[in-house]
Amino acid sequence: MAASLPQDDDYRAAITTAKGAFDSCHMHSAGSAYVRSTSVTGRNSMSLRNCLTVGHDALISPLNKVYWEAVKFGS
């Protein structure tokens, strides 16, 4: 039913963007990230989960600004 992602250009690009978020959270590849993150505890590092939420919010927050501008100018 559910686990597969939609197969379109937006999602193909999305995987690259998501991988960038992984890399910025100090992970080398999407494939090994989960395994490594559960076995490695780093001092002064945030959880992988929390790190990825920062990546998520960095994508959505600018959209909200675009939306507010659209509301302001009535488009």
Partner: protein, 207 residues
Amino acid sequence: MRLTFGKLATATSVAVVSALMWSGSAQAAPQILGLVASNGPIPLKCDTFYCAADFSTFCLQQERKGPSRNQKYHAYNGGEGIRVVGLNSSGDVVEIADGSALDIIAPRGQTVVKMSIPKRLLDKFGVTQVAIEIAPDVSLLPEEKPNDYNGQSEQDIAIATGPLCQLGTKVVDQNKAKVAAADVLNRVITLLPPGNRAASTRVRDSV
């Protein structure tokens, strides 16, 4: 200096209201949120008691404050536009509920909500996997609190869930690549256990 009873009463009222606001006992209702439509069903992750996943949202009311941590929300209009579907052992897709059956919280502001259902609901329908589908133009209302001094009026709700939400859908549609990337990240975040750690630079470099 003589203090009249009227002035004393006014000063006391101001002090009490200020104290209530400061303590958080009285507060304005937070923003209504727009839920980003899903591109197909998004799987939930189950633990012993609940199945849950993160979903992207956007703020529909800039003039109101954002949701406080774990603010509760309800799907507007009885959960219309949200489908909870499951896969039974025969491989058939079963519709379990609409959005009214969901527990919804905003864990970190206006950008995301966590939606969950009790796992016993899966057992009731003989379902082993569960997912949520979200149609366009779905809004989430903050749970009302009896001491809200600036609650959401019917007019506020009508404007936010109507034209403002539709405008939000338009903005989302114009930014599909970013929204898709946020969806991918949400799916990964949902799968990760809360406590695991990212590797430190020191450990990473040693690998």
